[in-house]
Symmetry: C2
């Protein structure tokens, strides 16, 4: 019998080409604080509870008021489709959030809610990519959503390297080289992805760096796709998160009115990451109305984003830049004081954890690690001795996978090898989260150090890598 359409050999080759070794199963669950928000969603799921005369015994007054607010936005509760772009009321709240954050007004008509940020990124890449000669600039290391989606839609990934020795900064000269190299292969670079704060690299881009990037996009006629899903996870004060949009709108009229920007955000991160809800949004800047119509049309093929998550997007929109929720609850609301106290405590604890982890890695033989400025990951470089690389090859493993497997076996610590994100030739990393409980952190880092130093001893003998 001839191959059938769903036999492996006859599948869409773009599907097979997709690389997706990593699944982001590690997520921020820094808090059990969200009870008030969850009560609101619970009431929205079962709105008839609001008619129960005893509802006030079980739910606080502010949760009841907010549930009524959201239910009034829907057409018949959470079980009905909304507009394919999401509920207008929530999109207005997102626009208000963006305006508060950036200091420039935002138009709700240019904000589309999505089933998580990934779905938005995929839709936009599908809109841009027309074939394999369309290139997208993607950072290396990168969160592999980008490589996977570009493969799936049949485009070309054009890599640019982040500079580890410059705290994972981005050198515009390297960008130019990447574009020139792509051109020499007949690829037209059409868009550029930035992940800020970085995943897996944890850096925050400076305002100056963002200006350079935007100017480069202007010169090269590139759409900028700003993955800003970790904007509320910042662990230092020196380099706050600044949105690409804020920098863009502050530039001269040529650049600020010309560069096409799409920014992505999600409810899965922040202090109250709710990744299982699958909620997010993208905002479009300088995108022509006819293109917005096309994006709307394609969004409408899948009818509407899921409605419960739209409420989580609204709650996200009520948070201020530093991640403290301001509207739900507001000063004066019943649960406000506790809320502020506890959320500040979480932020400070996460900063201490980021510091303990960075310092812990840097105290290990042949390990160097940049500080986690944002996002939720530590991404140390592991300088594997040649004998370890040989041993990995004999075992049929990529060297960093070999190291991470040994680490898992010896300590139970589960990490993601750097090869899942891309890295320079012959350089190895692993990604781990800074989320373990603060009280567990010393033991985890001791356990790591013991494993690592024994591993290095085994494959290198006395004397560090640097002395080879």
């Amino acid at each position: 019998m001839a191959p059938r359409a769903l036999d492996y050999e006859s599948l869409n080759e773009n599907v097979k080409k997709v690389q997706y070794a990593v699944r982001g199963e590690l997520y921020l669950r820094a808090s059990e604080l969200q009870k008030e928000g969850k009560k609101v969603v619970a009431l929205c799921q079962a709105p008839f509870l609001l008619d129960d005369p005893n509802v006030g015994l079980f739910f606080p007054a502010d949760a009841i008021a907010k549930a009524k607010h959201y239910l009034a936005m829907t057409i018949g509760g959470l079980g009905a489709y909304t507009d394919s772009r999401g509920m207008p009321g929530v999109r207005k709240e997102v626009a208000d959030f963006i305006e508060r954050r950036d200091g420039y007004p935002s138009d709700p008509e240019l904000i589309f809610l999505t089933d998580g940020a990934s779905k938005g990124v995929m839709q936009i890449l599908n809109t841009i990519i027309r074939g394999e000669s369309d290139g997208i600039l993607v950072p290396v290391p990168q969160y592999p959503l980008y490589s996977a989606a570009i493969s799936l839609f049949g485009g070309s990934l054009v890599p640019y390297f982040l500079e580890e020795t410059a705290n994972w900064g981005l050198d515009v000269n390297d960008l130019r080289q990447s574009v020139a190299q792509a051109r020499s292969k007949g690829i037209t670079v059409r868009a550029m992805v930035i992940i800020n704060p970085g995943n897996p690299t944890g850096q925050c881009l400076s305002e100056a760096n963002l200006r350079e990037i935007l100017h480069f996009c202007y010169q090269e006629n590139l759409v900028l796709l700003g993955d800003e899903v970790y904007q509320q996870n910042i662990y230092q004060d020196e380099r706050p998160f600044i949105s690409a949009r804020k920098v863009l709108l502050g530039m001269g009229p040529r650049v600020s009115k010309e560069v096409q920007l799409i920014s992505f955000h999600t409810v899965s991160k922040g202090y109250w990451g709710e990744c299982g809800q699958r909620g997010g949004y993208f905002e479009m800047t300088n995108i022509p109305p006819k293109t917005v119509d096309e994006i709307y049309k394609v969004a409408s093929v899948s009818l509407s984003p899921n409605v419960p998550a739209q409420i989580f997007v609204s709650r996200l929109a009520h948070s201020v830049v530093m991640g403290l929720m301001v509207n739900p609850p507001k000063p004066g609301d019943i649960s406000y004081e506790q809320f502020i106290r506890e959320s500040k405590g979480i932020l400070e604890s996460l900063r201490r954890r980021a510091r303990m982890m960075t310092d812990g890695f840097n105290s290990c033989r042949n390990v160097i690690c940049n500080f986690t400025e944002g996002a939720m990951y530590s991404f140390p470089q592991i300088r594997l001795p040649p004998k370890a690389i040989d041993a990995a090859k004999r075992a049929g493993k990529v060297p960093d996978v070999f190291y991470c497997l040994k680490l898992l076996e010896a300590t139970g610590i589960s990490t993601v090898p750097g090869s899942g994100f891309g890295q320079k030739e012959g350089v190895f990393h692993l990604r781990t989260t800074i989320l373990p409980a603060e009280e567990d952190m010393p033991e985890i880092m001791d356990s790591f150090k013991k494993f690592n130093d024994e591993f290095m001893e085994q494959y290198e003998g006395h004397g560090g890598y640097s002395r080879l």
Copy 2:
């Protein structure tokens, strides 16, 4: 300045080609019965409520037990990602449901939960379609998800016509002709879509017809995509819903072991349609493990289906074929009696409404209408007089759009013109739902009849179309 990647003229042409005039904003909300289920989901959204000593005052014992059941399946509640295929416990319940329905065991590893059926259909079409020479057989009239997704992924839609005079049945000879015609244009037909019960056409395919279709797929080496989202909306006893899978597995070993089938279902329909939740699943039959791995990999790019909807899928899985929920609540459960009584009442009322609507349309001048056997739509043919067609052309409208606009203006009745679904040249329809309240139905049909008969009088004068 050169066109930028998100300027309209430089978008992916496949995006522009997508046709999507219709959004299924009309949905089954036949019931406010789901309170018990909604209470379960409410408790799952705010699981700490279970620790409140007063929880039993506000929530019934069976809702509390079921919420605990679902929470035990998750990894930390609804706010955490699940496996990209959905929670194993829910997939097992879906497999049990399918086995009860069809009488053949089903493997949970071959069931993937999705954010609604549409997302599943899109993923599978993306997996199959390699380029424009890959053809997909799609019924006409069709739900426009199929034409839209095939455009978006750059494939070719190969239409086959449903036969209105045979109650929207499907003639395999027509299928053969469609395939032959496609071949003559260099298109390889790789898959076939059936929508059963039909949307917008409302027919249920007979077992004999399904056998013919499956045999045809075997002969032509086609994957069968079975859109069975309305399987729980059946309004007559003569022709029950039979799944393509049940028929396939009852055929001889060659066919039953060879034909690749993917079946789609959703939580958006049925008596308790929860379309805003965006939940669904697909089940794969005769799909090789390597292909399943590829589909799993691509599903994992968007991390996981939204988790609240997975609970709605579980509840769907507990329903029996005729749409009566059996497990939640079960006989003996507190809310069982009322549940059965009310759900039977809804079913009977929907049957009466389907009958009133069909009879109403058939009593109108130049209108003929098949009975709605399943799904939730009535799809009458409107035989527009030549003068009406001319008037539409002068107004720059498609003739059925012209008619539906006049209907809306005159009566407030909102319908979808048949041209949104495809129809034979020169034949016109409209789609409307059978969901208006039973007590409103006589007035609606009177109002329609008055409008229609005046319209026909205006454009035709005395004497019916048939006498022309």
